[in-house]
């Protein structure tokens, strides 16, 4: 069964919509800068919650930033789609923060004032943030949330495809969102994998990641869906897989077994050989462990024919549960624009692999299939393969 991508929307540190994001990728302009407030390198979306609420014309309510970022990206992807009675439509979002951005604010305030004051603390659960996105789009029915740490966004996309393939849905809007949260800034800093300078994916000098925030959504449809909506396919989602590294809760195995399995199974699902891949959008967080493990896994899959690859996290920062979704949108754009996307801040190849990522935005004769990797805590490894419509 074919799964078509018929809409994309994205908001990140490098743009408030898909076109702005692509322009920044072309121009090689990073969205990461030093935050004076947090004294960290961050990929912030330059809009306050109040500004987003005004842009969306929402009532002044207690919205999680997860929902607000999602609504901007989801509405862009959703476009002029309507809810029709005879088409089964669903929404699957991914988040690791959920309503925790509000929870931490109220909890810290309550602790400071020594009063419990927990009456506001009821939007923490991820599901509620997704319900508000669904309400904003007018979707009811299958409304789901995936939370598998940094692979969540890719898993939400995969889940949507599987629900279409399993004849549960005809059309589904899938993606992910995470705002910056003090919780994660403190967490990743405590792990000593936070680069105090710009992150340098796949570079020998890499010291760690920079956090970012954002959201991205894609509309997936079956043939039956398209026959009703009349939407034009942008590309196809051809392959997907989730496998587990089963090595360590936070670290990737030396040979990247989980990543290797996910890529091999996704190629198998897409029914293509590895030579067909024109570009890999790597997970490439910029941590010592991830980039080495992922490089070895890529080498094991592609042997001596590693296609052009890059990590776009030097542009956006690591947007956690949104990353897989944002990068999926970039993969769609790569196919549409026939472009290989650049990897920022790269200078020296890793000693162990000598692999050199693409460092400039480069147009190619043909970008037929694009592979996207997303990995998360808990050994969670997901691979998606997008392809041109034939």
């Amino acid at each position: 069964m074919k799964i078509f991508v018929t809409g994309i929307g994205v908001i990140s540190a490098i743009g408030l919509n898909a076109e702005e994001n692509l322009c920044s990728l072309k121009a090689g302009i990073s969205g990461i800068s030093k935050s004076p407030l947090y004294n960290l390198m961050l990929g912030e979306v330059k809009l306050t919650n109040t500004e987003i609420i005004q842009m969306l014309g929402l009532p002044i309510e207690d919205f999680s930033r997860t929902t607000l970022l999602s609504l901007l990206a989801a509405k862009e992807a959703w476009g002029r789609n309507k809810i029709q009675g005879n088409i089964r439509t669903g929404l699957i979002s991914a988040t690791s923060v959920g309503g925790l951005d509000r929870t931490e604010k109220y909890y810290f305030e309550a602790r400071k004032s020594k009063s419990p004051g927990t009456y506001k603390l009821m939007i923490h659960d991820n599901g509620t943030t997704t319900q508000r996105i669904a309400a904003g789009l007018g979707i009811s029915g299958y409304i789901g949330t995936i939370s598998t740490a940094c692979s969540s966004g890719a898993n939400a996309i995969m889940q949507g495809a599987r629900l279409i393939e399993g004849n549960k849905l005809d059309r589904v809007i899938v993606g992910g969102s995470d705002p910056l949260a003090l919780y994660d800034m403190n967490g990743f800093s405590s792990l000593n994998i936070y680069d105090q300078d710009m992150c340098k994916p796949f570079d020998e000098r890499r010291k760690g990641l920079n956090l970012g925030e954002g959201a991205a959504f894609l509309v997936l449809e079956s043939d039956a869906g398209i026959s009703i909506t009349g939407n034009t396919p942008l590309c196809m989602l051809c392959g997907w897989d989730n496998a587990n590294d089963a090595f360590h809760h936070t670290a990737s195995s030396v040979d990247g077994k989980g990543a290797y399995l996910a890529m091999m199974h996704a190629l198998n699902k897409a029914d293509i050989t590895s030579e067909k891949i024109s570009y890999i959008n790597a997970h490439g967080t910029g941590t010592g462990n991830n980039d080495l493990s992922e490089s070895i896994a890529i080498k094991n899959v592609f042997n001596d024919n590693v296609p052009p690859f890059s990590s776009t996290k030097g542009f956006t920062g690591h947007t956690l549960a949104a990353a897989g979704a944002i990068e999926a949108v970039y993969c769609v754009q790569s196919i549409q624009a026939k472009a290989i996307l650049p990897n920022l801040n790269f200078l020296i190849p890793m000693i162990e692999t000598g692999m050199v990522p693409e460092t400039t935005f480069r147009l190619d004769k043909q970008v037929e299939y694009v592979l996207s990797n997303s990995f998360g805590f808990g050994g969670n490894c997901t691979c998606l393969i997008f392809g041109k419509v034939h």
């Binding site: 509620t128 299958y142 949330t145 740490a149 792990l191 998360g376 808990g378």
Partner: protein
């Protein structure tokens, strides 16, 4: 597809007690969770760092895999609304007490929602599909749908469960459910869903649906039965949970004189208590003639309306084809 193993930790003696459905009662104030001796399942070193939800989930999962005689499931799927909520709260406290000074990552790394599924994969050295669904009161049903999709695409045995732990400082469940008269607690129920029946009485997982932002629960229940070619009279037992007492009367209209049991009063309130209900149903269905019911029970419907805007439906039977 079939339920070939099931395991529950609750306020009742459910764990490793086949036939537990005979001994259930409504929760009394002050009632507490009955937990097994975790040392049987988890080494002491690992146990110390584990939250309740993780320990419960591991014990139930290992119990299930032993029952099914399947040490390596093809996939591990967990439904949990709040994940490791207690560790989330602890790490928030650590951030405050560290006051921008050095901070240990211990509680951060084990507070992600997929800690349960991830730890299970690590423990089993399982490289298969590993997923975590977090759609508040529908987390478990979505996990089950995922398991059914795995079976449909060729898998043989799926470990799937629902688990949540009590945490009231950072999340006000009573406020969220708009109900002061509920017993908020923790619980875990895991299952092995297989493409073929097990050795014991076959309990079939007929269908599962998850509906969000619903208008009319009765209409959806009727539609669900229609799509499965089952009439209301053919449902021998309804295990239900809802936030609005008027709903019971409305649903009773659908099922006529059919028996209905409010499982929330037995399991207590947590977002994945429908997983408890499913094991309750499995236990009842594994009797040919359950002593607690007049007449044979062949078909059970679990109706989860814990949040008024959500409806989860699970249909099980023990019919032999």
């Amino acid at each position: 597809m079939y339920i070939t193993a099931s395991s529950t930790i609750s306020h009742h003696p459910t764990f490793r007690k086949k036939g537990f459905s005979l001994h259930l009662s409504e929760l009394k104030p002050g009632s507490e969770l009955i937990t097994p001796d975790y040392s049987t399942f988890i080494p002491a070193m690992d146990r110390r760092r584990m939250s309740e939800v993780l320990k419960m989930s591991i014990a139930c999962s290992l119990d299930c895999l032993m029952q099914a005689g399947q040490p390596q499931p093809d996939a591990i799927i967990v439904g949990t609304s709040m994940g490791c909520a207690v560790h989330t709260k602890i790490f928030l406290d650590k951030i405050i007490s560290a006051n921008q000074g050095p901070l240990a990552p211990t509680f951060f790394v084990v507070s992600t929602h997929n800690t349960i599924a991830g730890q299970l994969s690590l423990l089993l050295k399982n490289h298969g599909y590993n997923m975590t669904h977090t759609q508040n009161s529908l987390s478990f049903e979505q996990g089950l749908i995922d398991a059914m999709l795995c079976i449909k695409s060729g898998s043989n045995h799926i470990l799937v469960g629902g688990a949540d732990e009590f945490e009231e400082t950072i999340y006000n469940m009573k406020e969220r459910l708009n109900n002061e008269n509920i017993h908020i607690t923790s619980g875990a129920s895991f299952f092995v869903v297989s493409n073929e029946a097990g050795k014991t009485v076959p309990v079939k997982l007929v269908d599962v649906e998850s509906f969000g932002l619903i208008d009319d629960s009765s209409l959806l229940i009727k539609g669900f039965m229609d799509s499965n070619n089952v009439s209301a009279r053919e449902i021998d037992l309804v295990l239900y949970c809802n936030s609005d007492q008027n709903k019971k009367a409305e649903w009773q209209m659908i099922f006529g004189h059919g028996k209905m049991i409010d499982y929330q009063k037995i399991a207590g309130t947590y977002f994945t208590n429908s997983a408890f209900a499913m094991n309750y149903a499995v236990d009842i269905l594994s009797y040919k003639n359950h002593p607690a019911f007049a007449g044979e029970i062949h078909r059970v419907l679990v109706c989860n309306n814990l949040l008024p805007e959500n409806l989860g439906l699970v249909l099980l039977d023990n019919k032999i084809d």
